[in-house]
């Protein structure tokens, strides 16, 4: 069954947006009434639907675009296997549904990768002051759940506060073992947090603090992503222009990818996401920030809805110190290419051979 061949079940269903609740005096004939069972059966009889399609239409008949979308989503293919026509239909369906749910015109973009673009990211670790503005910009842009109960608040970027280590004169003789009087190792160094061991919940009056460095981490958009390797339904994959994305409709919520990711970048919607209407960002991408459902995994996708249209990601735009850089790795004039050419760069956990396209650098 191909959705693009499905005949419209009834005319009223097609354009619910054009028919708002009319004033009491308006002619009822001007606006087609909500689907009635009789209308449907009439249409169904003439169109000679198959029994399955009939059942689908009957179910979708129940109330609104939401039910219709859910029904159609059950039969929709993996995004990578969908034809352009199927994508367009899914897009129309979702736009209708989200616009109704959130009470404003919502667009669902399906723009594909642009030729000659390979996205890359760089972060100046020397500059980061740990203000967490990127974290909250990401939430404002990407329609994450923002409730207050456990598991309802999802943030994709984590900022780690790392202590600074130091050598101290009064610990010169704190060696071990002490029993024999022979010092085989020293302890003059007060250890700093090791890699990926730091504080997430720091909350001082003002940042940056004197004795701390900050390390933001999010999805590294690996070239060889372990999360893609383990996904049993192949719903997460690397797009041709770099980012690793998720087709939320095919995610079964098994959380294999969360276990496989060495950067702790993935989050799951354990509860139904809490997304207030007025805070919802109506500019969305199918593989990006469209509202998610319960039980699917989500993560940073470098703001596909922005970057596919050449706009900087939201976190880059709000960083008050300009530590975050984004660009096209294939363009030698781009910011990221210049950084790779000129600065000292490292990748987090490079020994895992995941080949991230997220680079840390310092002046």
């Amino acid at each position: 069954m191909t959705p693009d061949k499905t005949p419209p079940a009834d005319p009223a269903q097609e354009h619910p947006a054009e028919c708002p609740a009319p004033p009491a005096s308006a002619d009822p004939a001007a606006c087609a009434p909500k689907t009635s069972r009789r209308d449907f059966l009439k249409a169904g009889g003439t169109l000679s639907l198959s029994s399955l399609m009939g059942a689908g239409a009957l179910m979708s008949q129940s109330d609104d675009a939401r039910a219709a979308a859910e029904w159609a989503e059950h039969f929709q293919k993996n995004y990578r296997l969908m034809t352009d026509a199927e994508k367009a239909e899914a897009r129309v369906r979702l736009e209708k549904r989200y616009s109704m749910e959130y009470g404003k015109p919502v667009t669902v973009d399906t723009t594909g990768p642009q030729p000659g673009v390979l996205m890359g990211y760089a972060l100046n670790i020397r500059k980061c002051i740990g203000c967490r503005r990127c974290v909250h910009a990401c939430v404002a842009e990407n329609n994450q759940s923002r409730g207050t109960r456990p598991g309802e608040k999802i943030e994709w970027i984590q900022v780690l506060r790392m202590e600074r280590g130091k050598f101290e004169a009064d610990k010169m003789n704190h060696g071990y073992p002490e029993g024999l009087g022979i010092q085989v190792g020293g302890n003059a160094y007060t250890p700093a947090g090791q890699v990926l061991e730091g504080q997430y919940h720091y909350n001082p009056e003002a940042v940056p603090e004197q004795d701390a460095t900050y390390m933001p981490i999010a999805c590294m958009q690996c070239e060889k992503p372990p999360c893609v390797k383990v996904c049993p339904v192949r719903t997460t994959y690397r797009e041709a222009d770099g980012p690793v994305v998720i087709d939320y409709n095919w995610c079964i919520g098994c959380r294999m990818c969360m276990g496989a990711c060495p950067y702790w970048a993935r989050r799951i919607n354990l509860t139904t996401p809490v997304l207030p209407k007025e805070e919802m960002n109506p500019v969305t991408h199918y593989l990006g920030n469209r509202p998610r459902m319960r039980g699917v995994v989500e993560k940073c996708h470098w703001c596909l809805q922005r970057t596919r249209h050449d706009r900087y990601p939201a976190c880059v735009e709000v960083c008050p110190v300009g530590a975050r850089k984004f660009g096209n790795l294939l363009d030698p004039e781009s910011e990221v290419s210049k950084i790779l050419e000129r600065k000292n760069v490292f990748r987090l956990k490079a020994e895992l051979n995941t080949f991230p396209k997220f680079f840390y650098f310092y002046d």
């Binding site: 500059k127 002051i129 997430y200 003002a206 050449d310 300009g322 660009g327 210049k338």
Partner: protein
């Protein structure tokens, strides 16, 4: 008889309480109505990079789409709907000729500097009998000036150049609403990079290539970007304050993430994996 008296008393008490409550509600009503009206009159203004520099006023670009979202906690700009709000073309910048015309824009800063229009006319016009002979000190040491310090508090504790520069190295001698370059030519306050690059040439080069500093808009190398200039992030009168370790003024951070289920606080994070 006694019973009746008690009932009457109770009824009277109840009545008076009810009256008091309704009066209080009536009093509260106008106050509540006034609050949203005030909020509607004054849209939130949020600061962009640092407090005291560029700011942006919230407004709607399209229905339901604001030009900026401000943080309710800190008042910082958190999200840009319109990155080019209130910008003008940057003007000529050596080394950036490759950019298409109009693709580099900046937010003009001169209009934000409230005292600027007065400087050159009221006190520092540099012409007239009071400047003949010139009043600038020969030893190039700024004399404490209470009027100036009251207007620009950072001057009392001037921290830039470790005692090796003074006012007239950056500000124009006679045109006080301008800055000055190496040749004594005036430089606009909207293009401080032309001045700062005099000494900080490596930073200027990195800034021009997009490595240092901040840009918003389109990420492609020839795309239209709003460039943040030097003084939008750095306070030139106070760049080497000892209380910081990054060259920026300290900021209040945004709220920390949610604690995992069942966890009361995050004290475990303060324990070292290696005891010492």
């Amino acid at each position: 008889m006694k019973k009746l008296a008690i009932y009457t008393l109770a009824a009277a008490l109840l009545g008076s309480t009810l009256y008091a409550v309704s009066a209080a509600e009536k009093a509260a009503e106008p106050a509540q109505a006034a609050a949203p009206a005030e909020a509607a009159k004054e849209p939130p203004v949020c600061f962009e990079s640092r407090k005291g520099a560029s700011e942006v006023t919230q407004k709607e670009v399209k229905p339901g789409l604001p030009n900026v979202k401000c943080s309710p906690t800190t008042g910082a700009a958190l999200w840009y709907g319109d990155p080019y709000d209130g910008t003008v073309p940057m003007g000529k910048m050596p080394g950036m000729e490759k950019l298409p015309e109009g693709h580099a824009v900046v937010k003009p800063r001169s209009e934000k500097l409230a005292l600027m229009p007065m400087c050159g006319t009221a006190c520092h016009n540099g012409v007239g009998p009071q400047f003949n002979p010139p009043t600038l000190p020969k030893d190039k040491r700024a004399k404490p000036n209470p009027t100036m310090e009251a207007m620009v508090p950072d001057l009392a504790n001037f921290q830039h150049g470790r005692g090796r520069i003074w006012c007239m190295d950056c500000h124009h001698n006679t045109k006080r609403n301008m800055l000055v370059d190496h040749f004594g030519d005036p430089v606009s306050f909207d293009q401080p990079q032309l001045l700062c690059g005099k000494c900080h040439g490596d930073k200027l080069r990195d800034w021009r290539d997009g490595i240092h500093g901040k840009r918003i808009g389109e990420f492609t190398s020839t795309g239209k970007k709003r460039w943040f200039t030097c003084t939008e992030c750095h306070n030139p009168h106070n760049v080497q304050d000892g209380a910081r370790n990054r060259g920026f003024v300290q900021l209040q951070p945004e709220p920390s993430p949610q604690l995992p289920k069942g966890m009361k606080d995050a004290k475990h994070e303060l324990l070292h994996p290696i005891p010492h």
